[in-house]
């Protein structure tokens, strides 16, 4: 056997092993999934990825769309209990009012996993919860900027999410923590862009005017990619080059920001992974295999993507997920 064949075999084995470690076979298991609805592109992607992950593991996924209503979610969960599913995934629309229905699931000995949001209920009523750490997302974005500018002075303008919303508060806090130690980086202006492209563009236009037509701005930090996409257009309209004249960093990792990164118009994005179901299935697999109790709070990775991470490829991979 020549060396190349050996290498190929080894590589094949590794892939098989790692695939095995990543996705345990759960064929025959019936799992109910009560989704909030499809209010955002990210939500649609989460649904799509959950279906993919289930298919890879041979799970029979029962999907219920609650159309933003808790009563529909409670109905769906009761329905799953009546059908005798093996486990239930819930992306809870609100934090309160789950005690009764979770207790019913526990009584029926059906493990429940919460996805991407927590609930105000006793912890023993659910197996675990899988969510991202929004403060960490802001921190990763801030750390990227600290590393990027080095010792140069840098005025950052911030496009906040909707005033008072949890992601806006947390992503702001995380970013501020990360740049706290770098005295050369200051947030010169901060306004809300309501998480939308149109408002992101409008606010950025105003920032550019009040910062010497953009000459005093070194970077934009947007709490989500949509606002960053709007800001990029505003920067271009002002005759500047987004990505080089003004750096752009944002959070979420939706497909459109990857095409902007590929075009050199955005610099970095932090992923809010839509794959909450993967870790949930893994926790369930371990639980069923030998009764391992997973941690109560599984935190997904806040991964940083820049121009070096094949943005065009990431765009292709994500564009059909429903973002």
């Amino acid at each position: 056997m020549n060396i190349i064949a050996k290498l190929a075999l080894a590589a094949g084995l590794t892939t098989a092993l790692s695939a095995g470690a990543l996705a345990q076979d759960l064929s025959g298991k019936v799992i109910g999934f009560s989704q909030i609805g499809s209010e955002s592109g990210w939500r649609a992607a989460e649904t799509a990825v959950t279906r993919q992950e289930a298919e890879e593991r041979g799970v029979d996924l029962k999907f219920a769309d609650a159309q933003q209503k808790q009563e529909n979610q409670i109905k769906a969960i009761r329905g799953f209990i009546a059908q005798g599913v093996d486990a239930i995934l819930v992306a809870p629309v609100v934090a309160t009012g789950w005690d009764d229905v979770l207790a019913e699931a526990k009584e029926a000995e059906i493990p429940v996993v919460l996805l991407d949001r927590g609930v105000d209920a006793p912890e023993d009523l659910y197996l675990t919860s899988v969510a991202s750490d929004q403060v960490e997302e802001g921190r990763v974005a801030g750390q990227w900027l600290v590393d990027e500018v080095g010792s140069e002075d840098c005025n950052v303008v911030e496009l906040q999410g909707t005033v008072g919303s949890t992601p806006a508060i947390n992503r702001k806090q995380g970013f501020e923590e990360a740049i706290a130690s770098a005295s050369n980086i200051t947030i010169s202006q901060s306004q809300t862009g309501d998480f939308t492209r149109a408002k992101g563009k409008e606010v950025m236009e105003a920032f550019l005017k009040s910062s010497n037509n953009g000459a005093d701005i070194c970077a934009v930090y947007a709490h989500n990619d949509d606002m960053a996409v709007g800001a990029i257009q505003a920067i271009k309209d002002a005759g500047l080059k987004p990505g080089s004249d003004i750096k752009v960093v944002s959070i979420d990792a939706v497909p459109d920001i990857f095409s902007a990164i590929a075009a050199g118009e955005a610099n970095a994005t932090v992923e809010l992974t839509p794959n909450m179901a993967g870790p949930a299935f893994d926790a369930l697999a371990a639980y069923w295999a030998d009764g391992t109790e997973p941690e109560k709070f599984i935190i997904t990775e806040s991964k940083l993507y820049t121009a070096e991470d094949d943005p065009q490829g990431e765009y292709e991979r994500r564009k059909d997920l429903g973002y």
Binding site: G41, R197, E205, A206, K209, S210, G230
Partner: protein, 332 residues
């Protein structure tokens, strides 16, 4: 003649606009600086015109509706539908003129539907248009399947971000619409008829006015204006965002009309002053953005300023300061 022109300028709306611009200038000294860049005018004042245009266009349609003692809550949703229609058609490969015409037709159709509910079924306008306000956004989401449909069609992008003689296209469109609609209602008897329907529909009908036709006209026009605004907003961000396009803009449009001195009780209206009202609102928004207040203050500052504008226009204020109140009267 000169005195009349002067006293026209002294109406509360223009005073309020001047006041807001003055405050902006104090907060941000470069507010009035306008430069020429890449073949277009560039500056905060131009932003006010550009960003205020969608609400101004909505207000042009809304003024007629409110003059009939009605209200059109569905304009924001119609914007979303029109944007979604235009975007999906150009993405599907249809030429831009077809997409624009289709979007306008859909807007007109939505408006006529409102007119049908109000004029024929006699449903109260606030409820009748609430139906489409809720359903319209759902329709837009169905059309876009929940995605933000992005496009690069040069015609649509030009409508949203282009410029004409240096002025933003959106503002030019708003100006043209304002002139056309003003001529339509003030150079013909239509404006008077609309006001007559607003004062007393039954009496107007007895006097021989075809009030049903007029209601179809004002709601149809409102829908059409909303579609124009929807196309502009979509072109501006090169994408149709069914969830957010036009969200809550119906309230800004109603506010613009009211600031413009049109009575919610119907019977009198002014299209140009409604546009001034929209500019007042946008001047406030832009002022807040360039002034550097923390965003938590946005809504409070805006509300306080609006209250001030309304107090300036109130009967009490005019008793104390006897400025001629430009009750936008029917032309003699």
């Amino acid at each position: 003649m000169m005195r009349r022109a002067l006293s026209r300028l002294a109406n509360p709306q223009l005073l309020a606009l001047a006041g807001v611009l003055l405050i902006n200038w104090i907060l941000f000294p470069n507010f009035f600086r306008i430069t020429w860049q890449d073949g277009r005018l560039f500056g905060s004042l131009i932003d006010v015109l550009n960003r205020g245009a969608p609400v101004a266009i909505l207000a042009i349609g809304m003024a007629g509706v409110i003059a009939t003692k009605g209200v059109d809550l569905s304009v924001g949703a119609i914007m979303a539908v029109a944007g979604a229609v235009a975007a999906t058609l150009v993405v599907a490969g249809y030429p831009a003129p077809v997409a624009v015409l289709a979007a306008l037709a859909v807007g007109l159709l939505c408006g006529l539907w409102n007119g049908f509910l109000v004029a024929v079924l006699d449903i109260q306008p606030i409820i009748a248009t609430l139906v489409l306000m809720v359903a319209g956004r759902g329709i837009a989401q169905l059309i876009t399947e929940g995605f933000i449909i992005t496009f690069n069609d040069p015609v649509l992008v030009f409508i949203g971000t282009g410029s004409f003689l240096g002025f933003p296209m959106a503002a030019v469109i708003a100006l043209v619409l304002m002139v056309l609609v003003t001529l339509l209602v003030r150079r013909t008897a239509i404006g008077l008829f609309i006001e007559a329907v607003g004062v007393n529909r039954a009496a107007a009908s007895l006097a021989g006015i075809r009030s049903r036709m007029l209601l179809f006209l004002v709601y149809g026009l409102s829908g059409l204006c909303a579609a124009v605004a929807g196309i502009i907003v979509a072109g501006d961000i090169r994408g149709a965002d069914a969830n957010n396009a036009g969200l809550w803009l119906e309230l800004d449009a109603i506010l613009a009309v009211v600031i413009g001195g049109t009575s919610l009780l119907g019977g009198r209206f002014s299209v140009p002053l409604a546009v001034v009202g929209a500019l007042i609102i946008q001047a406030m928004n832009t002022g807040i953005l360039v002034s550097g207040f923390p965003p938590e203050f946005n809504l409070i500052v805006k509300a306080a300023l609006i209250l001030l504008v309304l107090i300036i226009q109130s009967p009490l204020a005019t008793r104390i300061v006897p400025v001629r109140v430009a009750a936008p009267e029917a032309r003699k």
